[in-house]
């Protein structure tokens, strides 16, 4: 072997070793929580990583323990996340289509405004929103949460979606216009079908956001049977410190696995979404 080859082998060997260590670090907490959810008892710590016996009792507890209401929370969250996703994506598409395709006087102001408003710390408006909802008698309703999430969606999503819409050639719109399509027709029949990757990305983030948010959910939802999964899970480890840890782990597994599967499928889209907001070079 020549010197270059030895150097190369050493370099690759070290790289593989580092990657292996990093992979363990990346996976360890995930595996640990999965194994904890299968371990009998309630304790956080066990001498061995892999439990001696496996049990599904914690998963069963999630669904049958009357103090937990996990299925109710789960359905609540599904409802809230889906509704606010639909509404939020719709609103975001409206704004991004308007600022991407039309040139009107206040356009740049609108864009800067969206950006700046999106930077506002959410909890700062918490008290105001709380009082506002109280004024309209909407406290402790899912409707209120859906409205708050959906109304906030254009703030975060518009500029990213606009970046994507800008890449759809104008000539397509013009061709459609010559064929007699109205503005709405162009939006519906040209823009929407071509933005499917963008819409998927927006839908995903709009769905996952409410799914895991607990700050607003905790503020607005007062009764236990109206809670979302996030509030319930937070409560599980926060009020009964450590007594319920394995059940918490089971719940965490149930929440994380669907999201991880979604991410795995949409990995490529996510990268595009992440980079779309920033302009390239």
């Amino acid at each position: 072997m020549s010197g270059v080859n030895i150097k190369r082998t050493i370099r690759l060997g070290l790289s593989y070793l580092t990657l292996l260590i990093l992979s363990v670090a990346a996976l360890y907490p995930a595996i640990w929580i999965l194994l904890s959810s299968l371990r009998p008892g309630k304790s956080l710590y066990s001498k061995t990583l892999i439990p001696e016996t496996f049990t599904l009792e914690h998963f069963r507890a999630l669904f049958y323990d009357p103090t937990l209401l996990f299925p109710t929370w789960w359905l609540n969250t599904l409802k809230i996340a889906s509704c606010s996703m639909l509404l939020g994506v719709f609103l975001t598409l409206l704004t991004s289509y308007a600022v991407s395709r039309f040139r009107f006087k206040t356009r740049k102001t609108t864009m800067s405004g969206l950006l700046v408003l999106g930077m506002f710390p959410g909890f700062m408006s918490m008290i105001a929103i709380y009082l506002l909802l109280k004024e309209f008698d909407l406290l402790d309703t899912h409707m209120a949460l859906i409205m708050v999430y959906a109304a906030g969606a254009p703030l975060g999503g518009t500029l990213i979606a606009k970046g994507f819409l800008d890449t759809i050639p104008r000539s397509l719109d013009e061709a459609a216009r010559i064929d007699g399509a109205s503005n709405f027709g162009i939006f519906w029949r040209v823009i929407l079908p071509l933005s499917r990757p963008m819409i998927t990305y927006m839908a995903l983030t709009q769905f996952v956001g409410p799914w895991v948010d607990f700050i607003f959910a905790r503020l607005i939802l007062r009764t236990k049977d109206k809670w979302t999964v996030a509030v319930g899970m937070w409560d599980m480890v926060n009020t009964n410190q450590n007594t319920n840890f394995t059940t918490f782990a089971a719940g965490a597994v149930l929440i994380s696995i669907p999201i991880m599967i979604l991410f795995a499928f949409l990995q490529k889209l996510l990268v595009e979404g992440l980079t779309a907001g920033a302009s390239k070079g």
Binding site: L19, A30, T95, L117, P121, L132, N183, M233, S256, I259
Partner: protein, 438 residues
């Protein structure tokens, strides 16, 4: 007679919305405007006076007991905060009404002018077509704007107002006590008064240190991992990437709550493992210094995958022949990295980097779920050693009811973050030269 229609239509519409349109023979549009004005007038006659009174005084009657026939009876006072928010809503509606009124006058004037020039005014159908063809963007923006106005702008105005009141426990909490306007008093206490300013500057310093460290560590870490995976000769790139992305796919709420338990000083597994090796555990979350180290480390675990994905994307866009040219010139790996890779990656990701920095200043989850701002700090007012400005704001609001102080802190955070982002965004190409993409 030349400008007769213009003036008549303008004056009529100024007097009462819709009259000008009816004068212009646009009956349907005119009646819609008429109804809008009639409904608005009935609403504002009832509400507007009280709204102005409310916003100026914030209520005048405080809650007190009155003797009625020898029995003390509770008299309900004005609830300053409800008065404030109701007044605010009414005034916002009123401004919207003024806007509609102005547009109605402009519309009547334009149609009148068209008639003077000898055109026939458009039918209702034509008006609708006009809106759909030429004012489409604005029409499209109405619905999102209403949402943003109600749930973002209105709350912001409200919170800014709160910063200029004395709305705080224990002395100014409605309904028992009234709230007053105090001007810049709150800001003065926050920035100058020692009991508050010590906390403020302490927390501010840590917030900035945290934002810099957490951004830099995740960025450099992400770059390192990305280069490790994408270097020549590494096999199963897709598998490594899929494994390393896992932390990003777990909901933050779950992974941070989990980390809090893993790092628990007494019964957390990490210290237990250290004990197995005969080492004393570390006070991960209970010692001020180690708690700061822990949040940075955990944040790396959560944040590196995102940077990794981003930078991997950039790496694939760097042309191979640049490296080949460098090799011909005899550059070693380090030189290739410094002269080609680093500048290219930095150049492409600079906006994202600034955005991440701004986001980290506001990174509520990372701190709140992991340490909740603890360990406590005796020198601070209602803040712990790892509290960021945002989590301090949260505590001031929900635990301490110091609403005015919280609002002042919020305004300051907002000014810092917004100036960064706006500066950043205005420099990106997608804002400046967007039409060049086409």
């Amino acid at each position: 007679m030349q400008r007769h229609h213009t003036r008549a239509a303008t004056i009529l519409s100024t007097l009462f919305m819709g009259l000008g349109q009816i004068y212009n023979r646009q009956f349907i549009k005119g009646f819609i405007f008429l109804i809008v004005e009639a409904l608005s007038l009935t609403y504002f006659i009832q509400k507007l006076g009280r709204a102005f009174w409310g916003i100026v005084t914030l209520g005048t009657t405080s809650q007190h007991f009155e003797k009625v026939k020898g029995i003390a009876k509770l008299v309900k006072g004005d609830h300053s905060i409800f008065i404030l928010i109701q007044s605010l809503i009414t005034i916002i509606f009123f401004l919207l009404f003024l806007l509609a009124w102005y547009m109605n006058i402009r519309d009547a004037r334009k149609t009148g002018a068209a008639r003077d020039a000898g055109h026939t005014p458009g039918t209702f159908k034509q008006s609708i077509r006009y809106i759909l063809d030429y004012k489409f963007a604005q029409t499209f923006l109405i619905l999102p704007s209403v949402g943003i106005l109600l749930f973002t702008v209105m709350p912001i105005i409200f919170m800014v107002m709160l910063a200029f009141t004395n709305y705080s426990a224990p002395n100014h909490m409605p309904p028992a006590k009234l709230v007053d306007w105090v001007g810049f008093e709150t800001f003065r206490s926050l920035l100058v008064l020692k009991s508050w300013s010590q906390t403020f500057y302490g927390v501010l310093t840590w917030t900035i240190i945290w934002a810099i460290l957490s951004t830099v560590t995740t960025y450099l870490g992400g770059m390192l991992v990305a280069m490790l995976v994408s270097q020549q000769g590494i096999r199963f790139k897709g598998v490594w990437r899929a494994i390393l992305i896992v932390p990003y796919a777990i909901p933050q709420m779950i992974s941070l709550l989990l980390m809090r338990n893993l790092f628990n000083g007494q019964f957390g597994p990490i210290n237990q493992y250290l004990k197995v090796f005969g080492l004393d555990g570390l006070p991960w979350l209970t010692d001020p210094f180690w708690a700061k180290v822990t949040v940075i480390v955990v944040n790396m675990w959560v944040g590196i995958p995102v940077s990794m994905l981003l930078i991997m994307g950039v790496l694939t866009t760097i042309p191979r022949d640049m490296y080949e040219a460098a090799e011909v010139d005899g550059a070693n790996s380090y030189q290739k990295f410094r002269i080609i890779t680093l500048p290219m990656v930095l150049f492409s990701t600079a906006p994202t980097l600034i955005a991440q920095f701004a986001g980290n200043i506001n990174n509520f989850n990372a701190i709140f779920l992991l340490t909740a701002g603890n360990p406590p700090n005796g020198d601070y007012q209602y803040a712990g050693s790892t509290d960021l400005l945002v989590t301090w704001l949260y505590k001031l609001t929900l635990d301490q009811n110091k609403y005015n102080m919280a609002s002042a802190v919020g305004i300051i955070i907002f000014l810092i973050v917004a100036s960064f982002s706006l500066y950043n965004y205005r420099r990106t190409k997608s804002f400046q030269e967007e039409d060049m993409i086409q």
